[in-house]
Amino acid sequence: MKKVFSKPESLQDKNNSYCPGCGHGIIHRIIAEVIDELGVREKTIGIAPVGCAVFAYYYWNFDVTEAAHGRPPAVATGIKRCLPDRVVFTYQGDGDLAAIGTAEIIHAANRGENITTIFVNNANYGMTGGQMAPTTILGQKTTTTPNGRDAKRDGYPLKVCELLSSLDGVCYIERVSVSTPKNVLKAKRAIKKAFENQLNNRGFSLVEVLSQCPTDWQMTPVESVKWVDEVLAKTFPLGVYKECMKK
């Protein structure tokens, strides 16, 4: 019998600890499938973030290190410069990448580090219970914006793709979502490209993934994917922000 579907080798055979409807599981799987398809599992080193996805290393079936909150791009730089023929990627949330680690991501991108960053934007701090993130949209209620994010008090949502695409060291920036099967397939194409760029020594690639967090958004999984499409993607439009195929 022909096998048409199976678990990627880059995923371990384990139940994950994510909430029902969470986007992390989908994104983990996409990364695992891409690494399998590119045949680089045995030379991949991932960097897990602080936050819900810290346990990513229990789910992926390749070498993974932790990094301090916000520091994955610096750790990835250290690894990639020492082992340039390995595939190095960071997996970071919005608090990690766009708040406490803003300096690290901007400078790694601007140096043109030949690494891949998967930036998971779910518009709040998930692990710590749903506080305002740099990417929380105006009016969005969180545990630290109980009446909704107010631009006067809390500032504006930070648009990472728009910001980083102005940097000369950056090769490829795209924003995707995992809200529908169609969007999942698009996300996979983008993530694959981001890894291929690294294999072709093209410099820094980042894919921002709008991801649903039903628990902290206090929505059902179905409501949360709808909210990604109808609300979140208005502030963070999907699409390619930069693509330069320089060698």
Binding site: I45, D63, E66, I79
Partner: protein, 344 residues
């Protein structure tokens, strides 16, 4: 050779694969020199965007089993503490050089010894130790940096070179010790992450959430620290056999005290010197032994009194302990030491 350059040469000869730094006075010669030498040697050099980035790049290099170093000066070392705690938790070997300057705050750029507490008592959050080496000459800047890489690999621990702006800027001729050999760089490092070819995937972490897991890990660290205490205490003594007054000092302060003690000996005073070379592990036993046969111990430090607390613990009441301090980037002269000892 300048002290700061001797650090670089010691690191290069010890096989340092990667250096990550950030500008701050008085350690600027180190990143400047490394930017040329490391690149010439085909090794990794990066001027990081921040001290935090630099120490986390060290983390990355150490994770893949490479010999890595960073350097800074006091305010910069404060910024690195987060990373140092993670390195200690994940048991990653590396070398961190602190060319101390006056503090607190931005302080000044004069040499100082005010970071003794920070270096020896933890510095970052959590229960951990660093091996702390205190060179007092340009030659020791070379030798101890070389040694630091071996100790780091042997025990999987961050090692700090705690020096200061004076030793860093000082110029002296040095002879490279041809007997120094790299010992532990070929250790198997069967924990390093370099891709899981031919083996199962590996994980490097300092987050240990399993029931009782962190307690067990910390007891394991304690065992390692006890082993280091047993094997790695280093110190130097001058004239302590018959000393009535013993001076305890480290780094540049010991250099000044050493010539004061020599002069006093020539005048017939029974004075000796204990110079801890490892500030952690601290040479408690020799201090306790000297205290048992001395009338007084004088601790001289370029701070408001930090190592004196460890000396008092070691002396444990066996004799009185006096203190001479010079905080805020001040230096005491040989004559001041001599006058102080004569008064005791």
């Amino acid at each position: 050779m300048k002290g700061n350059i001797a650090v670089c040469e010691g690191a290069i000869d010890a096989g340092c694969d990667a250096y990550f730094g950030y500008p701050i006075t008085p350690q600027n010669e180190i990143p400047a020199y490394m930017s040329r030498r490391m690149v010439e040697l085909g090794r990794v050099f990066i001027q990081a965007e921040s001290e935090l980035a630099a120490i986390n790049m060290v983390f990355g290099a150490a994770v893949c089993g490479k010999r890595a170093m960073t350097s800074s000066s006091s305010p910069g070392i404060s910024l690195k503490q987060e990373g140092i705690s993670y390195l200690a938790g994940a048991e990653l070997p590396c070398v961190i050089v602190n060319v101390q300057r006056g503090g607190p705050g931005l302080g000044n750029i004069s040499g100082s010894q005010a970071d003794y507490f920070q270096a020896t008592k933890g510095g970052g959050h959590g229960d951990y130790r660093l091996i702390v080496l205190a060179p007092y000459s340009v030659k020791e800047m070379y030798d101890l940096t070389f040694l630091a890489f071996d100790l780091a690999d042997k025990y999987r621990i961050p090692v700090m070179i705690l020096t200061d702006g004076i030793v860093g800027q000082m110029m002296e001729p040095i002879t490279i010790n041809s007997e120094l050999r790299i010992n532990n760089s070929e250790l198997k490092k069967d924990w390093k992450l370099d891709g899981c070819k031919g083996r199962g995937p590996r994980l490097m972490r300092s987050l240990i959430m399993e029931e009782g897991g962190l307690e067990k890990h910390n007891w394991h660290l304690k065992e390692k620290y006890d082993e280091i205490k047993k094997n790695e205490i280093r110190y130097e003594t001058d004239f302590t056999d018959d000393a009535e007054i013993a001076v305890a000092a480290f780094g540049i302060a010991a250099r000044i005290c050493k010539s004061a003690v020599k002069k006093l000996r020539q005048e017939g005073f029974k004075v000796g010197l204990i110079r801890p070379i490892t500030l952690w592990p601290f040479p408690e036993k020799v201090i306790s032994d000297v205290a048992a046969k001395s009338k007084k111990i004088l601790v001289a430090e370029m701070n408001m009194g930090q190592m004196v607390e460890d000396v008092k613990l070691a002396v444990n009441g066996k004799c009185p302990v006096e203190f001479l301090g010079a905080p805020g980037g001040a230096v005491f002269s040989e004559d001041e030491i001599i006058a102080k000892i004569k008064k005791l």
